[in-house]
């Protein structure tokens, strides 16, 4: 099942974000930013920066040695009694899970939050096969009940108020629900407990895969991750191939960064380590390693650091664009700055290319990324791909943008033309000038001046430089 290639119109999406979602996103992302800062201060900025650099190097080492670590991981998992499957794309994952479910006559499936599963629209596919996995992460449970989509990488129900959720529980669960978060949580707890106990299969994602011992690492807070991977007799984990790390020392570094970046806690409430099968646990453990375009990202040397991501959501929380509009406007399971570079590469620039332009390149995301992904650099690289095309993509930017880029490149390359251009600008701007400012420009530049004025083109750096040089040489 592939998505039809309809272009994501990011600009139009941002104009359709309801006010309550905007307000909730702004409030919640700002809280998250403060909490992350406090966590960094507690551990010490100097140590934090050393951790980030180490984490970056560990992750880059891992993905540039995937051909070593994936087979090693596979041996270890198999030795420990688990099954390892390799899936090229979404359809293979569906086939594998349906096969396992049919073989064991599975009727009830419980599921933890997993972005990979959203990437491949797993729930929809399983539904057509008569199996509906129940989301058990509270935010995802709410989003599933509402028939909607997550609006933030790690905080899926961020955009819902407690009043909305109370009303939702009343309608869909038939319970009398006051708009109090603790009470609403209790209602979900009771309802989901029954499901955990009767499910025949639990599906999870995975935060890391430790090659050294074949261990799956799950970082959670609620306890549903533990429930889904302990109680049902079958556990299936779907994990992207890029999640591999070499050893437990690597995991120690990454765990020190992950929870602090996501919620500002030192560690999440539960960090679970699962190696194959064990007495008293699920009878069968299946690990599905998914490619779905990751090897293509690996091939592009300028963009492969996209794969370092450990899915913390810190970039989304600090992004001034994301703060204003939330995740739904990205129309992708991966939103915010990481979504802006990952979505075009996974789903194609024809579909998600707009997202690479959805940034002011302020660089805040790169400052907070725990694995130091150079997001602005990759955004520029993807913009170039959209405009010029390369070995991976045909150009998809509109003709006007491509022509404008060509003209700009030509002009900037010849010093005489550049200088002529700056002189012409001083004349051309006159009709639009009001004192020191250009408050309104004609299309397409009116997009800039819609919300703020442009300062007038006045200073002449070359003239100043010539004068300075003359003074110095005199």
């Amino acid at each position: 099942m592939t998505r039809t290639v309809t272009r994501i119109d990011f600009r139009r999406n941002t104009q359709n974000v309801p006010a309550p979602i905007r307000a909730a996103t702004l409030k919640n992302t700002r809280t998250a930013v403060v909490k992350r800062d406090e966590a960094v201060q507690r551990v010490g900025v100097e140590y934090w920066e050393r951790l980030r650099q180490t984490a970056h190097d560990i992750r880059l080492h891992a993905i540039t040695h995937l051909d070593r670590y994936l087979p090693l991981l596979e041996s270890r998992v198999t030795e420990a009694g688990g099954y390892v499957h390799w899936a090229d794309d979404a359809t293979e994952v569906y086939r594998l899970i349906i096969e396992i479910a049919r073989k064991h006559r599975v009727q009830h499936i419980v599921k933890t939050k997993s972005m990979v599963s959203e990437e491949i629209a797993l729930n929809d596919a399983l539904r057509t096969a008569g199996l509906t996995p129940l989301e058990t992460d509270l935010g995802e449970f709410i989003v599933q009940l509402a028939g909607s989509r997550p609006s933030h990488p790690t905080n899926p129900a961020l955009h819902y108020t407690k009043e909305f959720i109370a009303d939702l529980f009343r309608r869909k669960l038939g319970v009398d629900a006051p708009p109090i978060p603790t009470v609403l949580t209790d209602i979900a707890r009771t309802r989901l407990r029954e499901e955990f106990l009767r499910a025949e299969m639990g599906i999870s994602g995975g935060n890391f895969l430790i090659a050294e011992t074949g261990t799956l690492v799950l970082v959670t807070n609620e306890g549903n991750g533990r429930m889904c991977t302990t109680l049902p007799p079958i556990h299936v984990a779907v994990v992207g191939i890029e999640k591999v790390v070499p050893d437990w020392d690597s995991v120690a570094v990454l765990l020190q960064l992950l929870a602090r970046s996501t919620t500002g806690m030192d560690l999440s409430a539960y960090t679970t380590f699962i190696t194959g099968t064990r007495a008293g646990g699920p009878r069968e453990f299946h690990l599905i390693l998914l490619d779905n375009g990751r090897t293509r990202i690996l091939q592009d040397v300028h963009a492969r650091e996209t794969l370092l991501c450990i899915r913390c959501g810190a970039c989304a929380n600090i992004c001034p664009v994301f703060q204003q509009i939330g995740g739904l406007a990205y129309d992708s399971p991966y939103s915010g700055p990481i979504g802006a570079i990952l979505s075009p590469q996974l789903f194609g620039i024809a579909r998600a290319g707009d997202l690479a332009f959805a940034s002011s390149l302020c660089g805040a995301c790169a400052d907070v990324c725990p694995v130091k992904i150079p997001i602005p650099k990759i955004l520029l690289h993807l913009r170039r791909r959209a405009v010029e095309g390369d070995a991976f993509e045909k150009p998809v930017a509109p003709v006007a943008v491509r022509a404008g880029a060509r003209v700009g490149a030509f002009t900037f390359a010849l010093p005489s033309l550049y200088e002529l251009g700056t002189q012409i600008l001083k004349w051309v701007q006159q009709p639009f000038r009001h004192g020191e400012w250009l408050p309104a420009m004609p299309p397409p530049l009116q997009r800039w001046t819609m919300t703020r004025p442009l300062p007038k083109f006045g200073a002449d750096f070359r003239a100043w430089w010539r004068k300075q040089k003359a003074k110095r040489d005199a």
């Binding site: 551990v43 180490t54 905080n155």
Partner: protein, 214 residues
């Protein structure tokens, strides 16, 4: 016909062929807590309190009995399960609970029966004072469900359990098939960023340190 495994590994091989591979870095030493065992246990308990856990320091059997009595009364404990390991046997937890009219459920029971327990009592395989984290290995006698299903989880820790840093804690559990690091209570802020405890895991988390020498 090439399997997906071969296809994927071939793609990786081709992708990495032309480029420089990145070397594995050295990992920085983690900040450690100063002080002796008593101080570090105190720090552990303080960290757990800040994460909404409830803590106590136990010096002897008499205090243990009183503490359990108080717990059973306050939390209305009727059924309990516990780790069937040497430490808890030495403490006589099972007997103490029976004396308080608490029904003990065997770890061999069906999961629906286990889910009816109000209290789960465990030890810990490792403790990290910097973050108040407890590491629990899952084995047949240290079943995962004991610290997961009941409404109340009581963990009893000892000076011996203390680790210097996270790397040491992980080294203690890496060769087992299943382990969990517990840092505070089950929690979520999914609804309007408001903290709610005890989502799917235990609602109440008690950690007692057993320090007979102090």
């Amino acid at each position: 016909m090439t399997s997906s495994r071969e296809t994927i590994l071939n793609r990786i091989h081709n992708a990495l062929r032309e480029s420089a591979r990145h070397e594995m870095p050295a990992c920085p030493d983690e900040p450690r807590l100063a002080g002796d065992e008593t101080a570090r246990l105190a720090a552990t308990l303080a960290a757990i309190e800040s994460l909404s856990g409830k803590t106590r320091r136990i010096k002897n059997q008499s205090e243990l009995r009183d503490a359990l009595n108080e717990l059973v009364q306050t939390e209305h404990i009727r059924k309990a399960m516990l780790w069937e390991n040497q430490f808890l046997r030495e403490l006589g937890i099972a007997n103490l609970l029976s004396e308080l009219d608490v029904e003990l459920v065997s770890l061999q029971a069906d999961k629906h029966v286990l889910a009816q327990c109000d209290l789960g009592v465990t030890g810990a395989d490792a403790v990290l004072p910097q973050t108040g984290t407890l590491a629990l290995r899952a084995t047949p006698s240290q079943a995962e469900v004991v610290s997961l299903l009941p409404r109340v989880h009581l963990a009893i820790i000892r000076p011996n359990d203390l680790c210097a840093d996270l790397r040491e804690m992980l080294a203690r559990i890496k060769h087992d098939s299943h382990a969990v690091l517990i840092t505070g209570s089950s929690r979520t802020t999914d609804i309007e960023k408001t903290l709610a405890l005890g989502v799917h895991g235990p609602k109440v988390f008690h950690v007692w340190s057993y320090e007979p020498s102090i």
